[in-house]
Amino acid sequence: MTDLRKSDRLIKLGLLMIAFSAISALFVITLFIFEQGGPIMFKYGLKSFIFGQDWYPSEKIFGLWPMIVGSLMVTLGALIIGVPLGLATAIFLAEFSSRRLARILKPVIELLAGIPSVVYGFLGLMFLIPFIRENLGGPGLSVLAASIILGIMILPTVISISLDSIRAVPDCYREGSIALGATRWQTVRMVVLPAARSGILAAIILGMGRAIGETMAVIMVAGNAAEIPSSILQPVRTLTSNIALEMGYAAGEHRQALFATGVILFVIIMVLNTIANLTASRQGKR
């Protein structure tokens, strides 16, 4: 009896320590990034750091604006491609396909999330880049290529989360609507989608988080020029690519500037995550 209680207490203590170390690891990482990247931002001025147009680290010119724009363009592009496709798939699987088909397809789609990003990048390089170069012009390595690859990469996230939230809409809403003389499609559009709205929003925001954080595949297909692209067929560099490409050889202030890039990325992702959590908790309340 007392023995049991003792081991119970030990287990509780152990779990507490594990949880604590996990949280403190996160905390330490955050602190480290800010400690490394913070000072240089203030040394050169927050404004010129964020809005500076030029990135010449060897001459100590650190303007991150092209990369910020690049990340946002590529992420937006990924959403424009991935969200309609993903949402349409989720609607089809939840409302119009046979249950058997959905049971087979859903795990397959979730498997897509497990393919390493370097493979997506490689496929893009092999097929997509030549296709864009030959048919649309430009170097092929471009905003468009990165958007398409990322759009495909966020599909599993968008599909599985919006599918779950569409399925969570009680059947009685559908029956009520159909009994009022609505067709299946009208029911989906006017009742099911609005009811699943916040879950779908969360799916989009999590997909967005995935797109903005992705590095390897983007480096392989985006071209990585550190300037604001004049069209979607021009190369682009994202914040994550900026870090990954230069970390290997950077030293001194250059290195710190890369950490500062991390700080900016961190802030952007925090904002997105907070929005996702807020919408998810609103969904829970209803």
Binding site: C172, G176, S177, A179, G181, A182, V191, P194
Partner: protein
Amino acid sequence: MKETAIEVRNLNHFYNRHQSLKNINLEVYRHEILAIIGPAKSGKSTFLTCLNRMSDLIPGARVEGQILIDGQDIYRPEVDVVALRRKFGMVFATPIPLPMSIYENVVYGVRLAGKNNRPELDRLVEDSLEKAGLWNEVKDRLRISALKLSGGQQQRLCLARILALKPEYILLDEPTSGLDPISTMKIEDSLRRLKQNYTIILVTNNTKQAARVADRTAFFLMGELVEVAETEIIFTRPTDKRTEAYLEGKFG
């Protein structure tokens, strides 16, 4: 004499191999309230869903026999099912307002049919809520979410919502089973008023309710129609012993 509105002939219904309705023959008269009573699982709900072909939506469900409405079989292949469902208003046991405002709930079906004229919709909303006995309680807050109403109000909203579609028939499946006595009374009052213009079929697990509102009552048992007659006759001198046993509370 009474005019026949719906004629059910040799209706059988199956869920896969399980037979849920057995050779039902029944007439429903225009502008009457027909109550359907019977113990749980006797096929009452199934019978209602056969009438507006909601039964089509359940995988594995199958219907045999005929249901004639205005002399036409609704199970003919060329029947427009959506148009058919519009002739029937259906109210379920649990009130299920759609997740939108009171106003939008009432005009939902009408908007689907393509009507969008604002003054016309306003009039329709007032008229339908009035008929369902809800207008006075909600007229100042038509824009709030329908999910904020009480259960009894939600159920009357569901009634208003189908009245807005100007159906010919109203099907109610245990509409008051989750409601308090006062809400129940309000619904029953509405039904009595509505029967002047509508043909009403009311499934109820409360035999007293059938006695209170129905012109005729049908007794279902294990998928069979045991008997159907004037409500007074069913309750005072039923022909079948099983009806009598049920009314005395011997089963169900």
